[in-house]
Each structure stands twice: as structure tokens, then as C-alpha cells.
């Protein structure tokens, strides 16, 4: 580190701080460079090959379209995001409640787990077509119901696992204290299950957004982000469609970051979080 350069001191702390900053740059530059490079390459390819907008609009035109339609995009995101949020909250609450039941009854557990695994393989999102018939055509309930179902199974499986799979040593310890099942629940099972809940949320939150979009492709109200993408495409407004796609990406990221923030707020120090199951 050169001396006499403004901003750099020669004492140890100064050395350590600038070393840390330098290390941060060394670590962080690849993804930043990669992202910038990707955008630049995209722009270049579109210009050089003179790609028609129906194939790939230039990032600059997408940015323009995003700015122009910002209010519309925001409103559409509100609709889709609202569906995702409602489903996420209800699915989580019901999932947690049912997981207690699953914890108590081994038989119920053995029945539900294969069902959950099978449902994971099946594209149950097609059930939205069924739901659309059971509610009014302007109702958002089919989409919310779909999101709730998907979130419910993810939360159920993971939290039930957390409640059941307590360390054998912990259970033996509490047994030696002659603790009642309720005390075991409070002292060991629930604290053990909390990280599992957050692992489930980190899977379920983006999953809720994705499900909300897919549900829109099945008909019904056309005011969500997913539906807007299709409608703009069909009217050949590709740059606008891509702008809605970026809105969708932002929404998904927001939900994921929200679940991470929730985790950070409530869990302070823990050993590595458990490997989650998507069902």
C-alpha cells in the first residue's frame, strides 16, 4: 500500500481497513462484471444482427418501455403480488396448523407424505382450470386458492419434519426431566421447527409468485403481470412485454428477499439452516 496517498494511512488499522475494502472488491467484481457484460452483449447483438423486436428487443428499448408504462406495470404487479401474498399467508398459517396434527399422528403422516410427493410431481397448477369454473369469472379466488395449496404443502412438509425430527439426545434429556408432551413441544419441538419454517418460506415465497403468474395463463381476469405479458405479445408490443417480464422478475426477487429478511429478523444465531424440501 503506497504511503502518502490520500485516504490511506500507514497505521495497522488503516492497512486492515483498506485491505478489507480491496478484498470486498476482489470478491464482488465477477457477478457485477458478468451482469454488465451480459447487458452490453445483449445490446450489441441486437444492434449488430439487427434483430427484430419480435425476437429480442434491445435493453435500451425495454428500459424505455418500462419507464413509459411504469404505472401500469406497478398496478399489474400489485394484482399478481396481492394474489401471491394472500396465498402465501393463508397457506403458511394453515400449513403450520396442520403440521401439528401431522406431528401427533403417525398414520396421518404416512398418508400425507406420499400424497405430497405425488403432488409435487404433478403439475397441479392445471387445477386452476377447474377452479375457474367454481367461482365467478371475475374472482381472484381461483388464483389465490392455487397459491394457497402450493404454499400449504411446502410449509406442511417442512414444518412437520422440523417438529418431528428433534435430536434424540434432546428428547432423552427432556424425558429424564419427566417433561410432559406439551412441555416437550414448547421447549424442544417448536424451537427446532422454526428454522424449517423459514427454509420452507424461502422456497414458498418465490413459488407463490410463480404460481400466481402461471394461474393467470389459464384465463379469468387479465389484469395481472402474466396476463399482460401475453396480451402485449399478441399485439406485437414486444418491448412492453419484456418490460412486464422485468417487473415480474423484480416481484419474484422482492418476495425472496422478503423471506430472507424475515428470517434474519427472527433468528439471530443458528447452526447451518436445514436442507429444505420443496415437498
Amino acid at each position: 500500500m503506497p504511503q502518502g496517498v490520500p485516504g490511506w494511512t500507514t497505521d495497522d488499522r488503516g492497512l486492515a481497513m483498506s485491505a478489507r475494502a480491496w478484498r470486498a472488491v476482489t470478491v464482488a467484481w465477477p457477478p457485477v462484471v458478468f451482469g454488465v457484460g451480459l447487458l452490453a452483449a445483449w445490446q450489441l447483438i441486437v444492434k449488430v444482427f439487427d434483430l427484430k423486436p419480435y425476437f429480442l428487443p434491445a435493453p435500451t428499448s425495454v428500459l424505455d418501455a418500462f419507464a413509459d408504462n411504469f404505472e401500469l406495470i406497478r398496478r399489474a404487479a400489485w394484482v399478481s403480488g396481492g394474489n401471491a401474498l394472500v396465498g402465501l399467508v393463508i397457506g403458511t398459517v394453515v400449513g403450520v396448523a396442520m403440521s401439528f396434527l401431522l406431528m401427533r399422528s403417525r398414520l396421518l403422516n404416512e398418508m400425507v407424505t406420499p400424497l405430497a410427493i405425488a403432488l409435487n410431481a404433478i403439475p397441479i397448477v392445471v387445477l386452476v382450470a377447474v377452479f375457474n369454473n367454481q367461482f365467478a369469472s371475475t374472482s381472484e379466488v381461483p388464483r389465490r386458492l392455487m397459491v394457497t395449496l402450493i404454499v400449504y404443502f411446502v410449509v406442511l412438509v417442512n414444518v412437520a419434519k422440523g417438529l418431528r425430527q428433534v435430536h434424540a439426545t434432546h428428547l432423552e434429556l427432556l424425558r429424564s426431566y419427566a417433561a410432559s408432551p406439551y412441555e416437550v413441544l414448547r421447549k424442544a419441538r417448536i424451537p427446532n421447527a422454526v428454522p424449517y419454517l423459514f427454509t420452507a418460506l424461502k422456497i414458498a415465497a418465490p413459488g407463490a409468485v410463480i404460481t400466481a403468474f402461471v394461474a393467470e395463463y389459464f384465463g379469468g381476469n387479465q389484469n395481472g403481470l402474466g396476463a399482460r405479458i401475453t396480451s402485449n405479445l399478441s399485439t406485437s408490443k414486444n418491448a412492453v412485454a419484456w418490460a412486464y417480464v422485468f417487473g415480474a422478475v423484480a416481484l419474484g426477487l422482492a418476495f425472496y428477499l422478503f423471506s430472507i429478511a424475515l428470517e434474519r429478523l427472527t433468528i439471530t444465531q443458528r447452526a447451518a439452516s436445514p436442507q429444505g424440501e420443496s415437498t
Binding site: 470478491v27 465477477p30 457477478p31 462484471v33 458478468f34 451482469g35 419480435y54 425476437f55 404416512e110 398418508m111 400425507v112 406420499p114 400424497l115 405425488a118 409435487n120 410431481a121 404433478i122 403439475p123 397448477v125 392445471v126 387445477l127 382450470a129 377447474v130 377452479f131 375457474n132 369454473n133 367454481q134 367461482f135 365467478a136 374472482s139 379466488v141 386458492l145 415465497a205 418465490p206 409468485v209 410463480i210 403468474f213 402461471v214 395463463y217 389459464f218 384465463g219 403481470l225 402474466g226 405479458i229 401475453t230 405479445l233 414486444n238 412485454a241 419484456w242 412486464y244 417480464v245 415480474a248 422478475v249 416481484l251 419474484g252 426477487l253 418476495f255 425472496y256 420443496s278
Partner: protein, 287 residues
């Protein structure tokens, strides 16, 4: 055996709950605390389970005399093949990318944050766009058939879990094994084939399962986006539109989608068992 039996019981209880709700629920749909969230229970909106099953054996429509189950099955078979292609292509690309990332730290650090983020963003939002390319785009003067765009979307959704899972596996080789290979003056490639890949298989197996179901979802949604003839996605939409006149029809297509998903899962599950056949049972596997 017990598991299969319990699964059947679980299915039966789902059917039971369906019928129970149908018996007690409001025919025109109901409100709970002012929110219209209870579905209609009329025979129109909620056919009986036996009606759904019965409908499988009736002709498809007035114009076609084929039994519905045949139509649905061939639709499911069509989509199955697309999903399989998507799964295979996605897996190959995913594994290739993960090897690149394992080998070159710079590629990993540059690419991995985007991969992780992409798992959370709704790629499915791109479905209509990807599908719109077919028929309109002619790379190198070749025709891009519409079905391949659908498979491509399946591959798109499949390759992310595979690359993340494979990378995790490749990087989790035990330090002892790596030191051993270094003591043999083995090249990176030799170490990859003899140690990293075999050690990564337990991580790749759940990734493949995720990729299989992702591929199915991608294909079905893409079919719906484009209305691809022959696939189960289009059948679902079509029958869904006829629900007012023929309520049980759409359920037959839903069953078809279920069969599709289960077929894909069994195929991948068998491959998984093959890959893991000589491994230590889970409890004994050294971490």
C-alpha cells in the same frame, strides 16, 4: 406395500372430502366473513367423483367418437415426450455449466448469484416470449418447430436445479479424497471423473427430481401459452372452456396431467435408484 395402500387411502379420503363438501356446501357458492371464497357445489360446478371417472369412457364430443380417455392419454403421451426432451437437454446443459463453474472460480463467482436469483424469479413469465419465437425466428435458415420451443421452455426450467445441485455436489467432495488424488499427481479431469462426479451423485439425485417436475410444468404452461395441438395443456384449456356444457370433461384432462407427472416422476425415480444402487444406505453415508 403398506405405502401403496396408504396412498390409495389418501386418494380415497381426498375424494371423500370432495363429496362431503359437495353434500353440505352451498350450491351457488358461499361467503365466509363477507368474502366469496366457497366454491359452488352444484353438479354443474362440482361434478361427482364417479361422474368424472365415468366421463373418461364416454366419447369426446359430438363430432369425435373416440373415448375421452384415449384422447387424454395420447395428449399426455405427447406432452411426456416433450417434457422428456426438455429434461434431458436441461440436465446436460445444467451439468455442463456446473462443471465449468466448479473448474473456474471466476465463472462460478460471476454466474452463481444469477443462478440462485433465477431460482426465485418467475422464468415462467418468459414462457409466452420463448414460445412466440417459434414460427417467427429462423436461426441459420432452419425452421424451428413449435414443439421444440415448448421443450426448450421445459429445458429452461429444468437446468437451474440441475446445475445448482450438481455444483453443490461437485464442491462437497471430502478434503481427504482430494488430498489423496493430489498425492497421486492426478489431473483435474481425472479427479473430476473418479472422485467429484461419483461423490456428487447423492446431491444430483434430488436435483433431477426437481428438474423432472419443473420440465413437466414448463411444457404444460408453454403448451397453454401457444395452444400447441396434441398436448395435454391445450386439452385442459379447451375442456375448461366447455365446462358450462360438460362439467366433468375438464377433470379428465386434469387426471391426464396427473398421469403425465407421475410417469415422469417414476422414470426419473428409476434412474435415481439405478444411480444410487451401490451406495451406502442413508444413515451410514459418510458426510
Amino acid at each position: 406395500m403398506r405405502k401403496a395402500l396408504l396412498f390409495v387411502v389418501a386418494l380415497a379420503s381426498v375424494a371423500g372430502v370432495w363429496e362431503l363438501y359437495k353434500a353440505v356446501g352451498p350450491a351457488a357458492g358461499g361467503d365466509v366473513l363477507g368474502w366469496r371464497i366457497l366454491p359452488r357445489t352444484s353438479d354443474h360446478a362440482m361434478p361427482h367423483v364417479w361422474e368424472m371417472i365415468g366421463r373418461l369412457f364416454d366419447p369426446e364430443s359430438r363430432s369425435s367418437s373416440r373415448q375421452i380417455w384415449r384422447v387424454v392419454l395420447s395428449g399426455a403421451w405427447f406432452s411426456f415426450r416433450l417434457a422428456l426432451v426438455g429434461f434431458v437437454v436441461g440436465s446436460v446443459v445444467g451439468v455442463g455449466l456446473s462443471v465449468l463453474m466448479a473448474r473456474f472460480g471466476i465463472v462460478r463467482r460471476g454466474l452463481l448469484p444469477y443462478l440462485v436469483a433465477s431460482q426465485t424469479v418467475p422464468l415462467i413469465a418468459l414462457a409466452p416470449i420463448v414460445v412466440s419465437w417459434s414460427g417467427r425466428v429462423h436461426p441459420f435458415g432452419l425452421d424451428v418447430p413449435r414443439w421444440s420451443a415448448v421443450s426448450l421452455l421445459g429445458a429452461f426450467l429444468a437446468f437451474f436445479p440441475v446445475s445448482v445441485g450438481t455444483l453443490r455436489g461437485l464442491l462437497s467432495t471430502s478434503p481427504t479424497s482430494l488430498e489423496l488424488m493430489r498425492s497421486y499427481a492426478a489431473s483435474w479431469r481425472q479427479t473430476l471423473w473418479r472422485v467429484r462426479f461419483p461423490a456428487a451423485v447423492p446431491s444430483m439425485v434430488p436435483a433431477f427430481r426437481l428438474a423432472a417436475s419443473a420440465s413437466v410444468v414448463g411444457v404444460v404452461v408453454a403448451e397453454i401459452s401457444v395452444g400447441l395441438r396434441g398436448g395435454i395443456g391445450r386439452l385442459i384449456i379447451e375442456y375448461g372452456r366447455q365446462a358450462t356444457s360438460d362439467p366433468a370433461k375438464v377433470y379428465t384432462a386434469v387426471f391426464g396431467a396427473g398421469v403425465l407427472g407421475l410417469a415422469m416422476a417414476s422414470l426419473v425415480g428409476t434412474t435415481d435408484s439405478l444411480l444410487m444402487r451401490n451406495r451406502a444406505p442413508a444413515e451410514e453415508r459418510a458426510q
